[in-house]
Symmetry: C2
Subunit: 395 residues, 2 copies
């Protein structure tokens, strides 16, 4: 089976690049002396997780019940659920916990949540490990490392025999809002020092905090030191994307996931080449455009991935249509050239703006290696929100 035999749009993974990305991050973690607990919200694939994580416990990070169920069914036992928990999810989590013997770590940053979770866990005769979420500047979840809430949360957790405090976790989401090694390194240091400060305060108050967990791909790539940190949770580095290129975290040659599309039309009036990959196949994410020249909804590469086609971008998306634009024409001569480069029926490879958003809805990856067009494997994956736990039947 070849790339040209796939239905389009299809999601393709370059296994050479995935292996390189995963090995590089494992080596980075080794050098820093920290555990790599990769965030699988990006790739949602058990096959990929086996490259990204490592033994003996194969720790991973997830962010939905679907992902917990999927990875548990595929043999993963050590998971951190890195989105603030809602108490009604405990019944499902407790059932998965019991069935698979999971080590399942949950986040909390509210006494109300801790008390509700503690009570429900006791009713379910389940035990959960809790991490206190720290807000190191992202303004999303978490309490500050220095505020009084931190110790109140620790005391609230300690009051429940069904819960055990295992440490602190933070995510410098603001690292996606800046570009370049220097400014990202500064955020990485804030992320590290905030987590460490919170863990130190807990320890000084007599609480145990063995886990000091930080990470986003940009901060762990550019951090100068991870002293005091025990684990990192990057995710998008497994696939990389144009957003990470724009932030200065990787190069276009590191992007491992892409979408294969077919040219279905030429419109000389709008100077657009139509492809059968639109807003659902690519997503409407345009994160990279804050830090790069206009990359539209993705760049256009040759179908074998060998080179990016200069000057082309997916300029417009509708539900199932993508519209590729070329360079502005000189003397009105540009369109014919654009259409000749991308004839009707030709296939192209679209490099995604944001891999997490583009890959989410697909049910599988078709794998190639480098510039070979041969499909060497199909990796099934969990999808975004398509499977609720009640529908999910692990095989």
């Amino acid at each position: 089976m070849q790339l040209t035999d796939l239905p389009t749009p299809s999601l393709v993974l370059d296994l050479d690049r995935v292996e390189r990305n995963c090995a590089a991050m494992l080596e980075r973690a080794r050098q820093h002396g920290v555990t790599l607990r990769p965030h699988l919200k990006t790739a949602k694939s058990a096959d990929l997780a086996r490259l990204a994580s490592s033994g003996p416990t194969w720790p991973i990070t997830v962010s939905t019940l679907t992902e917990v169920a999927y990875f548990a069914a595929h043999g993963f036992r050590d998971m951190t659920y890195a989105v603030g928990i809602a108490v009604h999810k405990l019944d499902t989590l407790a059932a998965l916990h019991r069935k698979h013997g999971l080590v399942l770590r949950l986040l909390a940053d509210q006494v109300a949540t801790i008390d509700a979770v503690g009570r429900r866990a006791a009713e379910l005769e389940a035990r959960f490990e809790l991490l206190i979420e720290i807000d190191c500047g992202g303004g999303r979840g978490g309490v500050t490392a220095d505020g009084r809430e931190l110790l109140e949360l620790a005391r609230a957790i300690s009051a429940w025999p069904s819960l055990s405090l295992v440490g602190v976790l933070t995510h410098a989401g603001q690292s996606y809002a800046t570009a370049g090694a220097g400014s990202i390194a500064a955020i990485a240091e804030t992320e590290r020092s905030s987590a460490l400060r919170a863990a130190t305060r807990l320890r000084e108050a007599g609480f145990e905090s063995p886990v000091v967990s930080i990470g986003s791909t940009p901060t762990v790539v550019w951090a100068a030191t991870l002293a005091g940190v025990t684990e990192i949770r990057p995710g998008v580095y497994t696939l990389f994307d144009l957003d990470q290129v724009a932030l200065g975290v990787c190069t276009v040659e590191d992007i491992a996931a892409s979408v294969i599309a077919t040219v279905i039309g030429h419109n000389p009036r709008s100077r657009r080449v139509l492809i059968d990959a639109g807003a659902l196949a690519l997503s409407k994410d345009q994160s990279a455009n804050a830090f790069a020249e206009d990359l539209g909804y993705g760049l256009v590469a040759t179908v074998d991935g060998a080179r990016v086609m200069a000057g082309l971008r997916v300029a417009e998306v509708h539900q199932e249509h993508g519209l590729i634009a070329g360079p502005e024409p000189v003397d009105g001569a540009g369109t014919d050239d654009l259409f000749a480069r991308l004839p009707i029926g030709a296939r192209v490879r679209i490099l995604p703006q944001h891999a997490c958003m583009t890959t989410a809805p697909y049910g599988h990856y078709d794998l190639v290696r480098g510039e070979s067009s041969e499909i060497i494997a199909r990796w099934h994956k969990a999808s975004g929100h398509t499977v609720t736990t009640s529908d999910w039947s692990p095989t």
Copy 2:
């Protein structure tokens, strides 16, 4: 089962509103004397299609192979595949065609496509009906109603015994880029007259063109006349959304699909309420914001849908987090009030920016009627790109 028993995020459908939206459009079609061939790319549900279409042939419009397979498996036989076709999709379409006895209409706007489709259809011993796509100003697919290409396409179709020309089709995509009854009505007239002009030219040249198909939700709602048109293909009216509200096509009370989410956090520093519905649960679409005050990534309603919560919007989305913002605080007093309105564990209903994007990844709808919290049914649906035909097993 109640709304409060659902896992979150969940996709909910108000059946009262769906029935009203579907009945109103059927009545509009009846008054105009045209066939309603609803576009099911929006709702992707056979149960909903039975409300939106009508006998004896139950015509529908679709835009992916997944949708063709899904609706064929659920008994629909008369479909128009309203995205320019790629020849490699014919094998799957021919197999579905043969298995289910479909009437399957495909689009073409390129001689190269017609020749490739005609040849492959002949090899597969299949016959397809073709519609010539007309570009009435959207700059997407199609040829102009007045250009020489129109008759060249008709001649190319006629040359293939495996193909039959059945008419013309256009979609005024530009109706989404303007707001208000007057300007939309002007676009509707361009859409109607372009399609009619193309059909007339075909007929004058001796070709049959029984089908004159137009439509987007905005244009069919505001068209003054549909004289000469034979069918309309609106889609988003089945569910409606904030984008259609912003365009002046419906009111907030017409929005039938929404996402139920749980409050999982309060961040006093960023003045945000965190919910467990983020970019994958809601989409990153912000179409409505071009024509309305900032609606963020959706408006916040009470969980029973009874009222929109004044001043609240989903201001920020990350993969699985949504961040709700309230009105700007006066004298620093705003945050406490916001958090009191949305306590930890509370449920809210998010009204979507763009229903086609928000609903696509979900596997089913849970149904309520009006402000009742009782779940009266679950409707399964096709998902966006999650099922390729090779995975699809109709029951």
